[in-house]
Symmetry: C5
Subunit: 74 residues, 5 copies
């Protein structure tokens, strides 16, 4: 029973990690958009790197979410 309680608290803590990763993901998209609005004709050329950078950052938040789901249902 106490192990079950710790599992639920751990899932909530993992959700903090998932939310914290949003700061990094938002910074990537925000920086891209700031630059793209300053120099729109270069935006398409940088789109591939935007998605790579976005994916590796989002991944960290998703890993935190996966740990949370494993704690809930694992």
């Amino acid at each position: 029973m106490e192990v079950e309680a710790a599992r639920l608290i751990g899932a909530g803590l993992a959700a903090i990690g998932a939310g914290a990763a949003a700061a990094g993901v938002g910074y990537i998209w925000g920086s891209f958009l700031q630059g793209a609005l300053r120099n729109p004709e270069a935006a398409n050329g940088e789109q591939a790197r935007l998605y790579i950078g976005f994916a590796v950052t989002e991944l960290l938040g998703l890993i935190a979410a996966v740990i949370g789901f494993i704690l809930l249902f694992g």
Copy 2:
């Protein structure tokens, strides 16, 4: 009784989430105002997007607050 104690602590933790969302909301309005003061005649044209961005950010903080209120009174 111990469940009641955990409910109260959880409501306090949810309030941290509501307060943390204020950093993002403040960043949106601050960025808009910085840009609007630099180029005031474009400010009205971006107002719709300001309110959309503000609403989706404020929403996250309000969701945290709702979780806190459910914990208090639910």
Copy 3:
């Protein structure tokens, strides 16, 4: 007695909130000074708004401190 312990821990947590508000207050003064050093003759004209923005931000930290003092002595 356990309630007394929780009161003391709560006062310490409230102090974190008071300290966290300093980030926002420092951002306001720092932004004002950066702008004032770039354009000093406009600084006096913005001083009223500086103090309004400073006051409403400082207020949040003081509220956190008041909660801490109520927890300690209330």
Copy 4:
């Protein structure tokens, strides 16, 4: 014995405060260096204010560290 455990956890929490102060100290030095590299001949004239600002920021982190040491050895 439980008081002894709380003393150790409190010392660890105080160390978080000392580390968090490093963000502010690093911001001061980083901002000075950014400005000094842009306008090197003005750097010497601002050095006194750099050290004053650095000292009052470092002080907050050192106070947190002192609280941690008092908790450990006091």
Copy 5:
């Protein structure tokens, strides 16, 4: 047994420290890349200082990770 539980929670807390250091490491590389894209011919000349700054920042995160591993296996 309770000491063993505290060891595991401590390892998790140490991992927060390792992750928090990533904010500083990312700031160094991001700032270098921003500057290098603005003035590419100066990038090679600053590479040595980039790696020194990166190493001393990464070190802090690795120390936190080492504390976590010692808690797990020490």
